[in-house]
Amino acid sequence: MDQFEVKVFIRLRPSVLDPAGEAIKSASSKLGVAGIKSLRIGKMIEVKIESNEEDIKEKIDLLCDRLFANTVIEDYEYSINKL
């Protein structure tokens, strides 16, 4: 068994309106930062997991598809780092 650190990034699909992102975009412009064309909020989940190397991708896919993301409204991607 090996130890892995996984970072999962979850984003609202482009077709789903992100009103919270719009609010932050508006606040950003009040800081005087011009030129922000788009700002959308996502989530990042960090997982430390013990697994065989051959199973790790399958386990993370299962977690992402069934729990971390709702694929009706969200896309996900992840990076796996062996510790």
Partner: protein
Amino acid sequence: MASFTVGIVVFPGSNCDRDVSWALEGCLDIKTKFLWHESSDLNDVDSIVLPGGFSYGDYLRCGAIARFSPLINSLHDFVKSGRRVLGICNGFQILTESGFLPGALVANKNLNFICDDVDLNVITSKGGWFQKSNETQNIKLPIAHGEGRYHCDQDTLKKLTDNDLIALKYKTNPNGSTSDIAGITNEKGNVLGLMPHPERACDESIGGIDGLYTLRSLITQ
């Protein structure tokens, strides 16, 4: 009908379970039974309500963790048997997260928690959840949600429309829902999910009785 029992599911964070029980027992004389979410025995209830609230604190997404409870696992066979399931507000969110109903509920377009009475058009008679009428039926029910914007893709919307699965539409869209949708049913019609709260509209003294018919329809076979 006296032996008919409606099961009301209680998750950690449910907060409309007692309201539903009060409406069913006090206003309609229908027997209820609270079902803790860890129970998987649904044999002694005839229909089920997933009430509103904040199951598991809405952690991750509304309804995302509740779907893994033993009770929701048992709900698949319950629904297949044709018995009726009503998901109200957080209950609707759980039904979409669990795949009983298509689409998802996301944050309201204006980001406000909206607590208000809304006018609704009844769209479908599928499942008999609403009074039959030849004219377009309008009802008024309370809403109370921060994440009630129904979202689905265009293919799903077409399927909902073509198969007459849209139960309720807002007359004035409060939250940015796709196609003004406030509630939908499954294809069989025995599962209804809606954001408005029928249990809060069961007595004239609290502002209306337009929710009575939907709750009473839980005891139709």
